[in-house]
Symmetry: C2
Subunit: 139 residues, 2 copies
Amino acid sequence: MALKHSRQRDVIKEFLMTRKDHPTADVVYMNVRQQIPNISLGTVYRNLTLLADIGEIARLRVGDGVDHFDADTSLHYHFICSECGSVIDLKMDNIDHIVDQVNAHFDGNIAGHVTYFYGTCKDCTCKSRGLAPQSQPTS
Amino acid sequence: MALKHSRQRDVIKEFLMTRKDHPTADVVYMNVRQQIPNISLGTVYRNLTLLADIGEIARLRVGDGVDHFDADTSLHYHFICSECGSVIDLKMDNIDHIVDQVNAHFDGNIAGHVTYFYGTCKDCTCKSRGLAPQSQPTS
DNA sequence: TTCCTTGCAAATCGTTTGCATAATG
DNA sequence: CATTATGCAAACGATTTGCAAGGAA
């Protein structure tokens, strides 16, 4: 299973690194086609899965039924706006200590936890008050 | 949109209340057919969605691509075994304080958070050591 | 009678996969 | 040359939906 170099994989990874809004496979596909017009959706999926498996990118499942991808694999948390669906990075301290609270009463082995926050983002909060949004979605 | 009574909805809810293993729509369907043989999968999905929308049951998205349903809507957390996929209730204190750590640096409005734990359950841990499991899965 | 619910089947959506061909090491 | 990667299209699994018929208020 030796990995061989491929231009499509490079372009996919590079595109992902330019985005901080955690695009879906489809969005990656749409954008990458500007550089490789005949790339196929299947190839995009295969490479996103491969990159996620070897840890070069992260696959985010935020409960909206679609996978999002993130080139930033460092420890951080996400916020999902219930109104516009945007996924936003959060600056906050590590909360792995919550695992300790489980271990106290649990017999199995806890490897980790998944946590994400939801609510209304700044822009959507403003809109619902009739104010102008602060910025447009990147996508 | 006045709600009308329906036997299929009753049976679905009753079945869910007898289970603490958070079955999927398909498992609900299989079991409910023992009491209503000609019930359709669509009806099961429609009622599970309806019950979840009015808050009588909870829809659990634990990242395995399939929705699980829980008749226990009280605040509690879940553990998902990475090996056998079983979803287990956890006894532990409320961890809503983690939201406070986000609010400090976030402009939007945080309504809540989703957290689940993963790892290896007691039975799978035992199996991997060649020991006999403590109990069989309920499904 | 009104209109919510159902069963059935077809449709959707996101994602995966089989296959023959192309590209890499 | 041996193998991995690609494009294409078909296949998939979970869930939703349109529709005509059935059931509750």
